[in-house]
């Protein structure tokens, strides 16, 4: 069985069918991209996978476990991390602290232990700090570790967000439009970071608008249009698919 198995997922908002009957697998170790024009239901799909809101029907299996009905924090604990299209930094915290929040599920100090600084929390705290610093170095923004995260440049915030997601030590990383708002240089940079992440053995599922990025880095692509899956395959095949071309270039 694939790492992530999406089966007949369906979402209705009132009378609007945002996602209709979408199924596809995500195999371990690959970068899989979901593309489609605006309003194709990509982000909706993501929100259902990560538990932000429930699907109307259908199911999602992650490592063989059904995710429907699970809350985001429970999904996170299973090893699925995500980023957001409009970056959600924790404002008022440094870049390092942002990444340290990402270590939340990997650590266990509770309310009382934290307040009284129990000796066993010291080690954990140090480990979190080291690991977070390591990740910032991996994503090449270690010099901004002590800067307030919300005052960083957009591209740097993306990197911090990626580091934060990686801090969760995820098996699967969901990236919601990682190139949104970035210029072509920054986009290429993010693309390089994503392949770097894949090479660490982390499976990546991304939703993207930017075709150049997707074609460069994806191992497999799913195309959504008006909530329905219209194509799935290797980048080269997708590029030649007449139906996909019709959507992206217009009817005529």
């Amino acid at each position: 069985m694939a790492l992530l198995e999406i089966k007949q997922l369906h979402k209705r908002f009132g009378g609007l069918h945002a996602v209709t009957d979408v199924s596809f697998p995500v195999e371990a170790g690959q970068i899989k991209a979901v593309i489609g024009p605006n309003g194709a239901g990509k982000t909706t799909l993501f929100n259902m996978i990560s538990g932000t809101f429930p699907a109307t029907s259908g199911s999602v299996f992650f490592q063989g476990k059904e995710l429907q009905g699970k809350k985001p924090y429970q999904v996170a604990a299973l090893g699925m991390a995500r980023t957001y299209q409009n970056i959600k930094m924790f404002s008022g915290m440094t870049a390092l602290e942002n990444v340290m929040v990402g270590c939340h599920v990997q650590s266990s100090a509770g309310f009382m232990a934290s307040m009284f600084r129990m000796p066993w929390t010291w080690k954990e705290e140090l480990a979190i700090r080291d690991r977070s610093m390591e990740l910032l170095t991996l994503l090449e923004i270690e010099e901004h570790a002590d800067t307030d995260a919300s005052s960083l440049a957009f591209g740097q915030q993306r990197a911090v967000e990626l580091a934060r997601a990686l801090a969760m030590d995820p098996t699967l990383l969901l990236l919601d439009e990682p190139a949104a708002g970035l210029n072509i240089y920054e986009t290429a940079e993010v693309g390089r970071l994503i392949t770097k992440i894949r090479d660490l053995g982390i499976t990546v599922l991304l939703v993207e608008h930017d075709m150049s990025l997707v074609m460069d880095i994806s191992d497999e692509i799913v195309v959504l249009c008006f909530g329905e899956k219209i194509a799935e395959g290797l980048p080269a095949a997708i590029q030649k698919d007449p139906e996909v071309i019709k959507i992206y270039l217009g009817e005529d």
Binding site: G92, F111, S114
Partner: protein, 358 residues
Amino acid sequence: MKKLLLILPLLACVIAIQVVCSSTDTLYYLTQMTMSAYYSLLIIGLCVLMGYAGQISLGHAGFFAIGGYISAGLTTHSLIPFKDNALVQFLDSSGLLLAGQTLYGEELLVVSPGLACAVAIIAAAVIAVFIGIPVLKLKGHYLAMATLGFGIIIYRVVLAVEYFGEADGISEVPAFPLFAGLSVSGSFGDRVSNYYIAWGILLLGLILLLNLIDSRVGRGLRGIHGSEEAADAMGVHTARFKLQTFVLSAVFAAVAGVFLTHYNGGIGPSEAGVMKSVRYVAIVAVGGMANLWGALLMGVVLNFLSLRGVFGSYDDAVFGLILIVIMLFAPNGILSISFRHRLMQLFGKGKQKRDGEA
């Protein structure tokens, strides 16, 4: 750890104030400083709830009152009529009750302050859990109104229930002996020792909260405030953290209530009033919401001035005005960088240096 070192200068100030007051024969200032310290204990607890967990509470005077009133009630109301009750007999034989005499020489049997304190704090915590579970699901105005409603109910209860002394409150609350001859009481000779007890408790509370903020849990809380959705996706159990913080701040309020009641020797319904809750919120806001040091400083200064009667009959008005002015012009508190920045610009020091302190 670095942040904790800031405690030392504060401790030095605390000692300096005592030395100055003792040597200039102005010990009466210590009385208000002691009371301010207890109020500030509540305020730093509320600061963590509002500034870090991002949840407003307009009912914290209610928790203060729960602590104070329960402790006062248990240590003043005689259990003689229930002498034959099994529980009373059990407590008596465990040494948890105190026998004594009233002014008129009647036999008196009351709960010992230690047990009363424990009961009061546990009661506040339990009530906070039951109120917190539904209330913290609410946001914005709804949360504000719901906690305001809770505060009003507590106020009505202490005003209406005979056990709590109705409009008169409870007086003649006995001293609370701690250890080594120290006791929380308003008696003249204990003024200096009580000043240190109060500040000791406050500093202990401050250290605990500073630890909390700079920890896994604290980062989770600040994450909730930054972006609840993202914190949730990071695996932070937001609902539970909010509830735990609510209970923690309620316990801080109850501890403040218990100790201040023993120190003052009584408690009245005004302690439970809505104005008190609003005042606490105002002080946290002035201090800068997510700034424990600011909350502590403002808590001590403003309460001290208020208790000294500096504001006269405009006491409540001053706090109302502070609330509005701060929220209009410096929503991040008067210690915030942006406000200092604006002030500097105002006074012509055009080129401001940005210090890295957050």
